[in-house]
């Protein structure tokens, strides 16, 4: 059976996108908006970076064949139609007409092919194309992907915004990694980029909105640039971001610190926009070394933890308790394994410690100060573990070091590693659970020998033919991971963004979207 996807069809299926009488029109055009961005950005090469700071800017410049909507479902972006062959061995994309790059060149399938070539060569997530045998361009507006073998989840992977296959002019094919020139088809074009300082984007007059939609949705939909320019200014200090917002030098900021919220709430010129489910705060055990290779010991730790206290310290109160690896609003959400969550039972923890034969060995909790939420969560976890008699000690390093240490095979330098999973849970179950199987298995099984039951569930998530079956496999995998304590998710962190009250149309999402945003005169 063939599957066809048309932009208008997807639009009709979206509960979030109201069926407006007419496409979005900017209530006012013009104005310059300055956005205070917390993290430095060094490169705008969206094919080779998965950092949020790059995506913040680049996703306003570049577009892909497919992207995700407000509810994280795949939608068409530069393609107006997609047809999946009945045998799932080919995908035919019909490109939208009249799409023009920022350099004035019309988009053709040759540009799409060149972009795929570059991505296959240097793309950070080039494994997306592992099952792709090749592609063809039978017509300037037709792009066909040939699969080496069927991959039921291919469209999910192709539409991922983690490291998207952004479409660039064919002449950029040979641009080296991290050095992709910023020429896209998006509503904004790059005017100036000074790494460490700012990036300034300008409205692209030649932008062709996707008429398959009537409103912006997720990273796609019907988009319009209403602002003349958007400047992303790097303001790493939270207090300076807040001060800039108060003075009006910044019209929008991300990551407002909790200590500033009360004052900003009283300021009528500022609108606070909490972005729930920003990331899942998490600790991963090292199962290649004792005593965390012992299930009873891991269960003892799990039983000792109270998630309210951990999340409260990690987020200054901006959190929601959350079971597992997806969020309740997502279609794939399941509470499978909920009985393992937020147990906070010291007696049970002590009994499990006795069962595990724990004799007071030092347990090292690996964390970092680059992400305060991770450090604070680790600190409370340490105290809760100590309260049941575990000799828990913190090892605090910086983020790149903790990543490197956590990835060493058969390491005995740490027992629990603190991290935060942001983009992957938002992308869906498949993107998230890849962190729990080799070569990425965050619980570091000895010699990368995954738990065979977990692997079986993972394979089912990838290969079962229907979505329901794959979702059931995800629930099975989540239950296994939680019951065997290969991960300890603490809860969902809320990130607060804020805008000046005259900034309209700004809706918090995974990145700040500046299409369909205008300044009220």
């Amino acid at each position: 059976m063939k599957r066809k996807l048309f932009a208008s069809f997807v639009m009709a299926a979206l509960p979030i996108a109201p069926l407006a009488a007419a496409p979005f029109q900017c209530p006012s055009i013009g104005g310059d908006l300055v956005f205070g961005q917390e993290a430095n950005v060094n490169s705008l090469d969206q094919m080779t970076s998965s950092t949020i700071s790059t995506r913040n800017i680049a996703m306003n410049i570049f577009e892909s064949l497919m992207t995700r909507d407000e509810n994280n479902r795949p939608i068409l972006e530069l393609a107006e139609a997609m047809e999946e062959a009945g045998d799932r061995l080919s995908y035919t994309f019909r490109l939208r007409r009249n799409v023009v790059f920022h350099n004035g060149k019309p988009l053709t399938s040759a540009d799409v092919a060149a972009s795929f070539e570059r991505y296959k060569r240097v793309g950070l997530q080039r494994s997306t194309l592992d099952n792709v045998a090749g592609w063809e361009t039978p017509d300037p507006h037709i792009f066909v992907i040939r699969m080496a073998r069927p991959q039921p989840t291919f469209i999910e992977a192709l539409s991922s915004f983690s490291v998207p296959i952004v479409i660039v002019p064919a002449e950029l094919r040979e641009d080296p990694p991290q050095q992709l020139r910023s020429i896209g088809t998006g509503p904004f074009r790059l005017l100036e980029f000074v790494p460490g300082s700012h990036a300034r984007l300008g409205r692209y007059e030649g932008y062709q909105p996707n008429t398959g939609f009537e409103q912006r949705t997720g990273f796609g939909g019907y988009r319009q640039a209403c602002l003349n320019t958007v400047t992303f200014r790097i303001v790493t200090e939270a207090s300076a971001r807040v001060a800039g917002l108060e003075t009006g030098e910044l019209q929008a900021v991300e990551d407002v610190p909790t200590r500033a919220l009360e004052a900003l709430r009283r300021n009528g010129a500022i609108t606070l926009l909490p972005l729930q489910n920003w990331w899942i705060q998490i600790a991963l055990p090292n199962t290649s070394t004792p005593p965390t290779d012992n299930l009873a010991f891991r269960r003892a730790v799990q039983a000792a933890l109270g998630m309210e206290d951990i999340m409260d310290a990690a987020t200054d109160g901006n959190y929601r308790l959350n079971v597992g690896f997806q969020y309740p609003h997502q279609a794939t959400y399941t509470d499978a394994g909920k009985e393992t969550y937020n147990i906070n039972n010291p007696q049970r923890a002590r009994a499990l410690l006795r069962e595990a034969g724990y004799r007071g060995e030092q347990i090292t909790i690996l964390t970092n100060r680059d992400y305060p939420a991770m450090y604070n969560a680790a600190l409370v976890m340490q105290q809760q573990m100590q309260a049941v008699g575990i000799n828990a000690q913190l090892r605090v390093v910086d983020w790149p070091t903790s990543v490197q240490m956590s990835q060493r095979l058969n390491s005995n330098e740490w027992h629990f590693y603190h991290s935060g999973w942001g983009t992957q849970p938002a992308l869906g179950a498949l993107a998230t659970m890849q962190f729990l199987v080799s070569p990425n298995a965050a619980y570091r099984p000895r010699d990368n020998n995954d738990d065979p039951d977990v692997m079986a569930a993972w394979n089912d998530m990838n290969t079962l033919p229907t979505e329901q079956e794959r979702n059931a496999a995800f629930a099975r995998m989540q239950r296994l991971v939680l019951e065997r304590v290969y991960a300890i998710p603490f809860g969902a962190l809320t990130k607060v963004q804020a805008v000046r009250a005259n900034v309209q149309g700004f809706v918090p999402f995974r990145i700040p979207r500046f299409s369909n945003v205008w300044i009220q005169r």
Binding site: S43, I234, V235, E237, Q404
Partner: protein, 314 residues
Amino acid sequence: MIGVAVRRLLGAVPVLLIVSLISFGLMRMIPGDPAAAIAGLAATPAQIAQLREDLGLNQPVLVQLLRYYEGLAQGDLGRSILLGKGVFAATMERLPVTIGLSLYALAITLVIGVGSGIVAALRQNSWVDQAAMMVAMIGISVPNFFLGLLMIILFAVHLGWLPSGGYVPFGQDPMGWLRSMTMPAISLALLQAGLLARITRSTMLEVLRQDYVRTARAKGLPRRQVILKHALANALIPIATVVGIIVSLLLSGAVVTEALFSIPGMGQLLTQSVLSRDYPMVQGGLLLVTAFLVLINIGVDLLYAALDPRVRFG
């Protein structure tokens, strides 16, 4: 004089070699790698490993060292992993920003430090002396980061006189540059100004007690001439040495100030490069900054020689 300059320049070569070796070694000794920083929080271990391979970070350390010195011998400082551009070009974009900030801060330091030090010495033990030294002590004691935050709240948020952050290039808008750099420069300068005021005061007091100053007064020279020509000219010799050190401190102190006020200077670049393990950028950037500081110190030595004939002819 030329001989002094040549000798000092030749003496700088081993310094630069040692700095290059230390920076190379230290960067390789600290754990963590650039791939993890570039790939970001969301990257999987497989993606990080792949990126490490793509960036050529898997080569043996000795090979990397040889390539580094091979490049240095040809005047090539390498390419920043994170910025994707030449280290020299990246440094030349950022170093002038930091130098501009440091010079502005130095001007403030000299005016406040030397001025208040002289006044305090001339009015020793008066309320002026006490007040000047108390202000100097506050300048020394308050961290410039905290001072910067207080200034942002007062002058940007409440009074709206100055921008809370950001940078305007001097060539683009000199007044804008002045507005954007005033608070950072003051917060950076006050610590050094406090130190300089105390040093100037004690040096001036010492000089004012010298026989030649007493003789000048006894000859009936005007007070202004005695202070400026005889006392200050001699007091400037140790002060000039301290100013050389202050320039180094201002450049290194700019790291925190640049972060607070969102100024894209060398301090921010080097901090970010260290945190991201951008080896070429840290090695090359440090080498260039060291070279700049060496030149400053040679300049101070020459100034010292100009001020003190004993150095010039000794």
